[in-house]
Symmetry: C2
DNA sequence: GTGAAAGCGCTAACAG
DNA sequence: CTGTTAGCGCTTTCAC
């Protein structure tokens, strides 16, 4: 007997109760103990699992959340993106909620009707999709991007402050020639980190130099190119604040090749606290961003919004400077 | 107006046809051109999207596939697992099919009723889940594991042959002291690669040495431990066939630290063709496994099984030895 | 080619 | 606390 054909009716018949009672059992509603036992027994014996689409049509939940991440070359090699997916997958897994994963390339074919709520990471290139989700009034929370629309929940990380503190840390160590290898500036967090960097220089009376600011796409390869530029002239920097640990690792590689001693001659701060970048002899000083916390916050918000519509939440999490080997006094 | 409330009725009314006609339009059934246009217009104007759960209840498709991967520590750092996820996500994305991702930790809470079919990777620790899916008669294909049940579709890679060819390649280069750093032997592919290794030695009249065979959990860390053992005695190997490129990279690291020249004094072959392991000056000789092809095959099989039940498919893909820098004649 | 109508399996009133 | 019943939005006969 194929268990896929078992319906609530079969269970009701076997347990000798009405389908309503079975439904109540499934949904943990109040039930007389004797009935509860009978139903439980029938459910087990028949190996019954409610058909979620039927349940949903009748107003119930699907117990699955959507996660939308904008696609880009190398996303599956990106610590950040994978941490998000990992965080969501494991957090939901513990709750018995399934994950409907959508990588947005260019077509918006996300199936709203198959999820109870959605987490949207970043929103870059898919603003229209965001609009659509808002319009459809599905429980939604955006992560790692501040949203203007006052009705949209989001939880982000204070990238500005992260950049500010990292830069100031370098300044406090006596550095004045501080470069920044930024990420793609169309990405909000990259922009914010850059702004934090600039602001720290300003506040500390250090004049910004345009050619100390180099943009990458977060990749090692581009970092390498920008580094060549950075060290081609005469007044090369004594410290570099990087948009990611990967980029910072590349700085370390570069320094080793060019025999520039770290941290004696060059200081480096990364961003992410990426365990992959901890090999080698030098432990990277870096800015840790609470990705896991961000994801968990987001899920909490989603949960509460699925029960009943809540006032929009807008939360900003703090970064933490992790001090290791790559910064020292001049 | 919230577009989430738009139903087939609204479209029918607006287009001046019956809901049956709208349904036919959605499902690309035959329609008079004039009606087709009217419906198309109404659908656009109302921004109508069928509710998939309702459609499903009535016998339609969800256009989403499930992917189940067994969870393990470090899965999100595993090239293999990520390639599978990436392959499935992108291949499905191109078809407009969504991905319902399930990482199996220990509870089977995969929601069969939310997918049209499922791809199961590996099956380790979740045999019961496999049984359940078979019993539920949902279109199913297992990847990277041979299944005894004659009714289950699978597509795997010939890991035995991969191991055999790699080992034989070393033998043909004059090696006799060939070690193998295997993966976790509870994983089928690790076992098959080991068997391939053994078989190649045997066929070439080289006696196996128990202490040349070391088991890891595919990780760098364990590889390091086993390497210490391997090189602690007097007759250390002149060549190592590794279960993965990560492990092989660690061999390279180890060799460099111990000043064992590769490939002069030590030859190394990896498995995976993992681009992450291509940094550094030495390009790894390795066995490429067609993960993407495997995934695509699986999806093709699933597709055909969703239309109508097909006879079970059992396909085995070949590996390819990629010859680079880490093997040379003795 | 098209419309009317009968469910698909479940939840949520509503009565008891 | 429990059973009866009316849909949820869609697909699919079955007539026309």
């Amino acid at each position: 007997m194929s268990s896929s054909k078992i319906t609530i009716k079969d269970v009701a018949k076997r347990a000798g109760v009405s389908i309503a009672t079975v439904s109540r059992f499934i949904n943990n509603a109040a039930l007389k103990e004797s009935n509860r036992k009978k139903v439980e027994k029938a459910v087990k014996e028949l190996n019954y699992h409610p058909l979620l689409y039927a349940r949903r049509l009748a107003g119930g939940k699907l117990d699955t959340f959507g996660l939308i991440i904008p696609g880009y070359e190398g996303i599956f090699y990106s610590f950040y993106a994978l941490e998000i997916i990992r965080g969501v997958a494991t957090t939901l897994g513990e709750k018995g909620v399934d994950l409907h994963l959508n990588i947005f390339w260019n077509k918006d074919n996300f199936k709203t009707s198959l999820v109870d709520g959605v987490i949207m990471a970043d929103v870059i290139g898919n603003q229209d999709q965001l609009k659509r989700l808002v319009k459809e009034e599905i429980p939604l929370v955006v992560i790692n991007k501040k949203i203007d629309d006052k009705n949209v929940n989001f939880v982000t990380i204070d990238n500005f402050r992260g950049g500010y503190e990292a830069t100031e840390f370098l300044i406090h160590h006596g550095h004045k020639r501080i470069a920044h290898l930024s990420g793609d500036l169309r990405v909000e967090c990259a922009k914010d980190r850059l702004e934090g960097y600039k602001s720290a220089l300003e506040k500390n009376g250090i004049k910004k130099k345009a050619n100390y600011i180099k943009t990458t796409n977060f990749s090692r390869k581009e970092a390498r190119g920008r580094l060549e530029e950075l060290f081609s002239g005469q007044d090369s920097p004594t410290a570099i604040f990087c948009c990611s640990d990967e980029v910072a690792s590349e700085v370390l590689n570069f320094a080793e090749e060019k025999s520039i001693e770290v941290p004696k001659k060059l200081n480096v701060i990364g961003f992410d606290d990426n365990p992959h970048c901890l090999y080698g002899n030098l432990m990277l000083t870096t800015v840790r961003q609470p990705l896991m916390t961000m994801v968990q916050e987001a899920i909490k918000i989603l949960d509460s919004n699925i029960e009943t519509k809540k006032p929009p939440q807008r939360v900003v999490l703090n970064t933490e400077l992790i001090i290791r080997d790559t910064v020292s006094f001049l």
